[in-house]
């Protein structure tokens, strides 16, 4: 079962709560501003992510989701490109 961790950069308000509580320090605040004028969080070190969902739980804007493996193949391609330029 592989999981896809995804941050919706346009929902994120860059509050930074997820960045601080991530046990693996995966997340950082991006320099690229989103459509709302916030600097969203992004996965700086996606390979360290253990999919523990603490960030999802802490996020006040439901901007972070983790989807299960079944649809991992289709979204694999889209998710990874998005994370890189996040």
């Amino acid at each position: 079962m592989t999981y896809i961790h995804k941050i919706d950069s346009d929902r994120c308000k860059g509050c930074g709560l997820c960045v601080t509580i991530c046990p693996k320090h995966v997340l950082e605040i991006s320099e690229k501003v989103n459509t709302k004028g916030y600097f969203p969080a992004f996965q700086a070190r996606p390979e360290d992510c253990i999919k523990c969902a603490l960030c999802c739980s802490m996020c006040p804007d439901v901007a972070i989701t983790i989807t299960g493996a079944e649809d991992a193949d289709q979204t694999q391609q889209a998710a990874s490109t998005e994370d890189n330029d996040g």
Binding site: G16, K36, I50, A53, S57, P60, V62, T65, I66
Partner: protein, 245 residues
């Protein structure tokens, strides 16, 4: 290792108007998750407050009724009494519930209305720009206590959960917080228990949630979590303060 995480069905897709890092958003999600898990969305009606959460109905996907400032418990009472089969909850801030609406919440609790109240305590009036609230901490600066809350002048912050727990009528009263993930799971459990007591027709249920207000506290969201932890939690102890016997 890992788990999935998705937006609950009871929550809408709309991005909230809340400030970055405001934990209203977390509490909304918990309420929505509980409503999904208890499968009651079709018979639930929320009563929104006047305050930051006045627009909360935009963030949920079930029936909602706006309330006048402080009057949600009375509206919920009227609704529940004529339609006891509905699940009715109010969601209120500290100005709404503990200031102008104190009489309504005390009497709804004392009558043992079979409703649920989610009380968000962030120590200030958020929507109107950070004025002092009944739960503002001693010496806490707000836009109407610019020199810090002077308890000799305006008294001590009100511990609403303890106040309501002193009533003799059966009730479930708990205080939790959502400032850290470990707290969030406990807060969700309390909210679920509160709704369950209502569904069972057992008693009035009330969950106070210590919440942050980065903007009006003049802190970053992360600093606000620390401030709440260091300043508010010692004064507002967490846990189940009253449970039905």
């Amino acid at each position: 290792m890992g788990k999935t995480f998705a937006k609950p069905e009871a929550l809408s897709d709309q991005i909230t108007h809340y400030c970055p890092g405001c934990t209203h958003g977390v509490i909304h999600r918990l309420v929505a998750e509980v409503i999904d898990e208890l499968d009651i969305r079709g018979r639930t009606v929320g009563v929104a407050p006047v305050g930051c959460a006045v627009l909360m109905y935009n963030y949920f996907t079930f029936d909602f009724l706006e309330s006048a400032h402080g009057r949600a418990p009375a509206q919920a009472t009227g609704m529940k009494r004529v339609r006891p089969d509905l699940v009715v909850f109010t969601y209120q801030g500290d100005g709404d519930l503990a200031s102008i609406g104190m009489s309504e919440i005390v009497h709804a609790a004392n009558r043992g209305e079979k409703i649920t109240t989610i009380f968000v305590n962030n120590a200030v009036y958020g929507m109107t720009g950070g004025q002092m609230a009944p739960t503002t901490m001693p010496n806490q600066r707000t836009t109407t206590s610019p020199f810090g809350r002077n308890v000799d002048e305006v008294g001590m912050p009100i511990k609403v959960s303890e106040l309501l727990a002193s009533l003799q009528t059966t009730a479930y009263i708990a205080r939790q917080t959502v400032i850290l993930p470990k707290h969030i799971t406990r807060a969700k459990k309390a909210i679920k228990k509160a709704f369950q007591y209502q569904i069972d027709g057992r008693c009035f249920s009330f969950v106070e949630i210590v919440s942050t207000c980065p903007t009006n506290w003049g802190l970053t969201p992360v600093e606000a979590v620390k401030w709440a932890e260091e300043k508010m939690l010692p004064y507002y102890p967490l846990g189940e303060i009253k449970t039905p016997q």
